[in-house]
Amino acid sequence: MATKEVDTLSGTETTGHEWDGIKELNTPLPSWWLWVFYICIAWAIGYSIFYPSWPWLSGYAKGVLGYSTRKEFNQQMAALEQERSVWSDKITATPVAQILDDPDLTTIATAGGRVIFANNCAPCHGTAGVGRPGGFPTLVDDDWIWGGSINAIYTTIQHGIRNTTDAEARISQMPVFGEILKRDEISALADHVLSLSGHGADNATGAKLFADNCAVCHGEFGKGNQDLGAPNLTDQIWLYGDSKAAIVAQITNPRQGVMPAWHGRLSDTEIKQAAIYVHSLGGGE
C-alpha cells in the first residue's frame, strides 16, 4: 500500500479496499492465532506418524503406534462379553423355569432374547412375534399349539417341529381326509367344527364324523391336545383361517407347519433367552 488511510470514526487503518463507499477496516488477527495454526499443522504431522493416515495404492500407512479402530472395537466387544458374562453365566447355570423366579435375570434374559428373536425367529413369526399369514403362528396371543409354558416353549425352540434333522422334534401328522371322507361329509364336518366355537349350526352327521375321525387327536369336545400339537377348535383363533372354505381345505388336504431345530444353531443360553422372551410376549402360561 502506498498511502495509509485511517478511518476517522474508529481510528483504525483501512485496507484501502472500498465497495460502494464502504471501506474495509484493517483489524489484524493476533499473532498467537497464527501460532495456533502452525501448532495444528505440527500436530497433524505428528498424528500421521503415530496413527493410521495416508492411503497407499495397496493398504495404508498404519502408524507407529499400531492403532486400529477394528482392534479397539474387538477389545471393547471382548470387554463387553466379559461384563455380560456375570449374567450370561447365571442364565447358563439356571434351569429356564427358575430364571422367571428372578426378576433381574428375567429382565436381562428378555432383553437378550429380543435381539435373538429378531435375528432368528422374526422372518417367520414376524417382528415381536405377531405371526404371518399362511401358518406361521402368532406368539403374542394366549393360544398355543404345542404348549405355552416356559418349558414347552423352550423344548419347541430346541428341537423344532416336524423337521427331519432333530430326532426329538415335535411330530404329529393330520391325515389327508380328502382321501378318506367324501366331499359332503367334509362339508358337514366343517360345519360341526365351526359350531364348536359358536359359529353356524351344528349337524348330527358332522358330530358323528368328528367323534369317529377327529376326537382322537382334537379331543371329544374339540379342545385340542398340546402333546400332539392338535389345535383347540373351540376358541376364536385359527391358524389357517376361520371361514368354512378354509376349514374344508384344511380337512381335505392339511397343511403342516415345520420349524427348524435351534439346538446346535444357537447356544443353550441363547435358546433360554429366546424362550423367556417369547414367554413374555403376553401369552406365556
Binding site: S10, G11, P30, S31, W32, L100, A128, D141, Q236, G282
Partner: protein
C-alpha cells in the same frame, strides 16, 4: 481493536471531539511509537504490565474476587442430609445417577427445563445489569476477570509491581530471574489445579474426590477433565488474559446493544480534561484541562487500554483507572472523577452545568425487569407445585392389538412410574372407560384382573409390561379412548393417564 460503535457516543455533539476523534489505534500508548511502515496481517501482542492501584473500585473488586472465589471453592464442601440412600453434597450434578441436587431440590433429567430457566434468568439478568451499570459483568464478576485478578496478584507478589516486572523481563537470563519465573508458574499451576479440581467437585463427592485424587483411584476420564480445567485456567488467566476479552469472547461484541445514554460506563470526561498537558504541583490549571497526562490510567488497566480515547471494546469497565486518576487529581488539588463511572447523559449534563440524575427506570430496564419477574414467577410456581410422581405410557407399535382365544382383544403397553420421593410406593393400577377391561402385568399379575398392585422403589423408575384386555363389545371402532388410573395406596393420590385401546374396528 476497534472503538465501540455506540450511537449514543456518536450523536452527542456536546462532547468535545477530542474525546473520540483522536485517530490512533486503541491500545497502550506504547503502540503509537511503533513504526507504522507497512500493513501487517497479524498484530503483535503488546504485553500488559498492569500497575497496582488503591482506591474505592479496587476495594470493591477485591471484595467481589474474595466472595466469588470463596463461593466457588467452598460450595462443593457444603453438606445436606438427604437420607441414607442419597448423596449428602448440597450442590451436586450426579451424572451417572442422572440427578442434580441443589440443597433441598432434586432435579431429574426430565426436569432439565429448570436449568434452561436458570440460564434464561441469568441472561436477562445480565442484560438488565448491563443496561444499568455497563460492563459490570466483565469488570467484576466474569471468571476470566476474577482469576486474572488473582493470577496478577500472585505475579505482583513474586515479581514485583509494573516497573519491576518490565525490568525483570528485559533483564538477561539469570538464576534469580529463572527462580522468580518458575515460582510464579508453579504458584499459578497450583491455583489452576485447585480450580480445575473444584470444578469436578460439583460433579463428584468432594471429600471422596480429594481422597481418590491423591490415591490415584479416579478414572482416567476424571483425571482428564481435571487436567483440561487446570490447563484452561492456567493458560487463560496466566497467559491469555485480555486476549480472551478482545479476541475470544463474544459478549463484548454485542453488549453495546444493551447500552443507552443512561447506562453507567467508565469514561473520561474530556470536556474537563482537555487540553491535557503535563503539570507540576501548585501550578495553575487556568486555560487548560485537568488531565496531567501522567499515563496512570492506562498503566493500571488490566487490558491495557487508554480510556481517554473513549469507550472501546477492550475496556472491561473495572474502574481501576478511576482509582488511579482520583489519586492523581487529589495530589494536584483538582476535583476527583475526571474518569468517572457514570452515564453519557450525566457527562453531557455536567459539561453544560446542568444537574445530573441517575435514571434506573427506563423503558428497556422495565422490559428486562418485567421479563425477569414473569420468568422467575413461572419457575417458582412450577417448582413449588411440581409433583414428585409421574408416569409415562408407551403403546406397543407391533402388534397394535392381539386377538385372544375367547374373542376378546388385548393391547400391550410399557408403563413407567417415576417415583421421585425417597420412600417406596405401592400403587393400584386400574382401567376406566373400558367395560370389562382387565390387566395383566408380566412377572407380577399373570391372571387378568381388574386392578393390579405395583411397587416402585424409592427414587426410582418402575418399568412394567402392562397388558390390557377388553371384550370386543367394549371397543368403539379401531381406537377406543380409555384411562389408566394409578392410585397411591398410602396417600390415595390419584394420577389419571389417557390411553388408547386399538382394535380391529369390526
Amino acid at each position: 481493536m476497534q472503538q465501540l460503535n455506540n450511537s449514543a457516543l456518536e450523536s452527542k455533539d456536546a462532547l468535545p471531539p477530542a474525546s473520540r476523534r483522536r485517530a490512533a489505534p486503541i491500545a497502550p500508548s506504547e503502540e503509537a511509537t511503533r513504526p507504522n511502515t507497512e500493513q501487517r496481517l497479524y498484530a503483535t501482542r503488546i504485553k500488559v504490565y498492569a500497575r497496582s492501584v488503591q482506591g474505592f473500585w479496587r476495594r470493591v473488586k477485591w471484595g467481589v474476587v474474595a466472595t466469588l472465589l470463596t463461593l466457588y471453592y467452598v460450595a462443593p464442601w457444603l453438606r445436606w442430609n438427604r437420607g441414607p440412600d442419597a448423596p449428602n453434597q448440597a450442590l451436586l450434578i450426579d451424572m451417572p445417577g442422572r440427578r442434580a441436587y441443589f440443597f433441598g431440590i432434586e432435579i431429574w433429567p426430565q426436569e432439565i427445563y429448570y436449568l434452561t430457566g436458570m440460564l434464561i434468568l441469568g441472561a436477562i439478568g445480565l442484560f438488565l445489569a448491563t443496561a444499568w451499570f455497563g460492563r459490570v459483568w466483565c469488570g467484576f464478576t466474569c471468571p476470566q476477570t476474577v482469576w486474572t485478578d488473582l493470577f496478577m496478584w500472585v505475579e505482583r507478589k513474586i515479581e514485583g509491581d509494573r516497573n519491576a516486572r518490565i525490568r525483570l523481563d528485559k533483564a538477561p537470563m539469570s538464576a534469580g530471574k529463572i527462580g522468580r519465573k518458575a515460582a510464579k508458574h508453579v504458584a499459578w499451576f497450583l491455583i489452576a489445579l485447585a480450580t480445575g479440581g473444584a470444578w469436578i467437585m460439583y460433579f463428584y463427592d468432594a471429600p471422596t474426590l480429594v481422597h481418590h485424587f491423591v490415591t490415584g483411584e479416579l478414572s482416567s476420564t476424571v483425571y482428564s477433565f481435571i487436567f483440561i480445567f487446570t490447563m484452561t485456567t492456567y493458560v487463560l488467566a496466566g497467559w491469555a488474559r485480555e486476549q480472551v476479552c478482545i479476541y475470544m469472547c463474544p459478549w463484548p461484541r454485542f453488549q453495546s446493544a444493551m447500552f443507552d445514554e443512561d447506562s453507567a460506563i467508565v469514561t473520561y470526561e474530556a470536556w474537563r480534561g482537555e487540553p491535557r498537558a503535563p503539570a507540576r504541583k501548585g501550578q495553575s490549571f487556568e486555560a487548560r484541562g485537568d488531565c496531567v497526562d501522567c499515563g496512570m490510567c492506562w498503566q493500571v488497566c488490566p487490558t491495557g487500554v487508554d480510556i481517554r480515547k473513549g469507550q472501546q471494546m477492550a475496556c472491561i469497565g473495572c474502574g481501576l483507572c478511576i482509582d488511579a486518576c482520583n489519586d492523581i487529581m487529589q495530589r494536584f488539588g483538582r476535583p476527583a472523577e475526571l474518569i468517572t463511572y457514570d452515564s453519557i447523559n450525566n457527562q453531557i449534563a455536567r459539561a453544560e452545568s446542568r444537574p445530573t440524575r441517575r435514571r434506573l427506570i427506563r423503558p428497556r430496564t422495565i422490559a428486562y425487569m418485567v421479563l425477569l419477574a414473569i420468568i422467575a414467577a413461572v419457575m417458582a410456581y412450577t417448582l413449588a407445585t411440581r409433583t414428585r410422581l409421574d408416569v409415562s405410557l408407551l403403546h406397543d407399535r407391533q402388534p397394535l392389538f392381539v386377538k385372544l382365544s375367547d374373542g376378546g382383544y388385548r393391547n400391550g403397553f410399557t408403563f413407567k412410574i417415576l417415583n421421585m420421593e425417597r420412600e417406596p410406593k405401592t400403587f393400584l393400577l386400574a382401567t376406566d372407560g373400558l367395560p370389562g377391561g382387565e390387566i395383566t402385568v408380566i412377572g407380577i399379575q399373570p391372571q387378568p384382573s381388574p386392578s393390579v398392585e405395583l411397587t416402585v422403589m424409592p427414587d426410582d423408575i418402575g418399568t412394567f409390561r402392562v397388558f390390557v384386555k377388553a371384550p370386543l363389545s367394549s371397543l368403539k371402532g379401531k381406537s377406543t379412548d380409555f384411562r389408566l388410573v394409578l392410585t397411591d395406596l398410602a396417600t390415595r393420590q390419584m394420577l389419571v393417564h389417557n390411553a388408547v385401546f386399538n382394535g380391529p374396528g369390526e
